[in-house]
Amino acid sequence: MDTAIDIALKFAAITVAFVVVLLIVAYTVLAERRVLGFIQGRLGPNRVGYGGILQPFADLLKFILKEDIIPDKSTRFIYFLAPVVATMAALMTMIVYPFGPEIRIPFTTITIPLVIAHFDVGLLYVLGITSIGVYGIMLAGWSSNNKYSLMGGLRSSAQMISYELALGLSLIGVILLAGTLDLAQIVENQSAWHGMRWNIIFNPLGFLVYLTAAIAETNRVPFDLPEAETELVAGFHTEYSAMKFALFFLAEYINMFTVSMLATTLFLGGWNVPFAEDIFGRGSFLFGIVSAIGFLAKVIFFLFLYIWLRGTLPRFRFDQLMDFGWKILLPLALLSIFITATLIFLLPNYF
């Protein structure tokens, strides 16, 4: 009986997390359009609801109502599978991130952990699921039976394989500092110094490498070669329309969100808010709320950074992209591991 309740609770938690994340993602799209509008000296969507607040729902309705065109000579099964794989892989990593500390419901002794699954190898789980996500794009490119799509899919897989290395290596420094792969434990380790012992202080190079590689992993500007519209029409999703296109769109923004959460968790102290523990006391309800809001604020900062980059940077050429990934980013990631390991070896008492 207890297992049944446990499973029901987990399902409820997963549903709540997914709904919240999807809402945030929907409003990221709106924010992107408004911020891009601001950067480019125009308004952006501001007609649906107050200041465009209902625009995501209007977009969703449009996606559902559009005609769903399936190319005649596509490989049907894989064509349908690809957007599902992309979205599922993007959503699946959501369950290991600690959104906040344990929260105690006021006037009771019930505590709720603000993390869905406590996983011993959470970080590796995230990396593994992220590496599955590339199949969505590759299969979409292949099954569409379209040269532009195929080029987009090939570019994407080459790019993601290359940048996955730098991404993985840039995280080694944090693993060395924390001594664990458990995301919740990594966040706990950063709560010293009044909640400001963030890993970015000890491993700034790793942070920069991670940030760059993460942008490449999510196929965002300036690394959006797989869908470079000047060369490939729309890249891997050229042949996708209506809700299938919406799923790819969704997957891209969820991926943005998850890599932002990973950056926050690993480098910016996760849910640790400076001095929150001294003011509210550990384990109190307010502490939990403030920490969760702090986590969200840091994630939103990264999302804003993404949008900002999209508004201001031009796109790489493909050979430049490869050169940058292999000849600059990878050695820098190795250097960051070397520096961190040396620090830990020389000052074993501090880490």
Partner: protein, 221 residues
């Protein structure tokens, strides 16, 4: 509950494994193989070895199979219908090998039944990240290092194979638009170490200077 999950993942794994050999389309086979790896990873998690499970997904499903799918996409093998009859002589051999395999499995099953050992319920940390790490860097350090040297040799070998021929120097590129070629490539009379750059304006011009036919067969028609 656990038995149910086991049946789910084991069934998925076996189904995908059958699909790997049964599918005619190589890409379908490759995707089925990804399915096998993922269901194996789920089984590892159930066996309290999350580290192995994660590495299984990252290395096999996330890296090796991506490369395999990449190659299938590049070659587009689907176009050529392979002859079914050509490999017919292998069928008896396959039956024989399958019989041997089934016999082995039956033997193991029988011997497990015969020599039943009651499992000791000592807590085990085999399979956790810590135990794997400490064992790998103490007891199994030499095999670990030898493996990495083996991988390094494979990388060097791949580089040597890919670089064989050495037609173009590193700074010559066939990019449409402005071309930059070294003088030694354009004019055979000058010394080969003369790296003065010569600019050409079009891909055609560059290809003519390099003496290669860059055009596809479709364009020539």
């Amino acid at each position: 509950m656990l038995a149910l999950l086991f049946i789910l993942f084991a069934g998925l794994g076996i189904g995908c494994a059958l699909a790997v050999v049964a599918q005619r389309n190589p890409l379908y086979s490759a995707i089925s193989l990804v399915g096998v790896f993922i269901s194996l990873a789920c089984l590892y998690v159930m066996l309290a070895a999350p580290f192995i499970a994660a590495v299984q997904v990252i290395v096999y499903a996330g890296a090796i199979m991506v490369l395999v799918v990449f190659v299938i996409m590049l070659l587009n093998v689907e176009q050529e219908e392979r002859e079914r009859t050509r490999l017919k002589f292998l069928v008896p051999a396959a039956v024989l090998l399958a019989a041997v395999l089934i016999a082995e499995v039956a033997f193991i099953l029988v011997s497990v039944q015969e020599f039943r050992v009651t499992p000791t319920s000592t807590p085990s940390d085999i399979g956790t990240t810590y135990s794997i790490g400490s064992q790998l860097f103490t007891r199994y350090l030499l095999p670990f290092e030898i493996t990495s040297i083996l991988l390094l040799m494979a990388i060097v070998g791949a580089m040597t194979l890919a670089r064989r021929g050495g037609l173009l120097p590193a700074n010559a590129r066939v990019v449409p638009g402005a071309q930059q070629l070294t003088l030694s490539m354009v004019d055979p009379a000058v010394q080969p170490d003369n790296l003065t750059l010569v600019e050409t304006d079009t891909t055609d011009e560059a290809a003519r200077l390099l003496g290669i036919d860059h055009r596809d067969k479709d364009d020539a028609e």
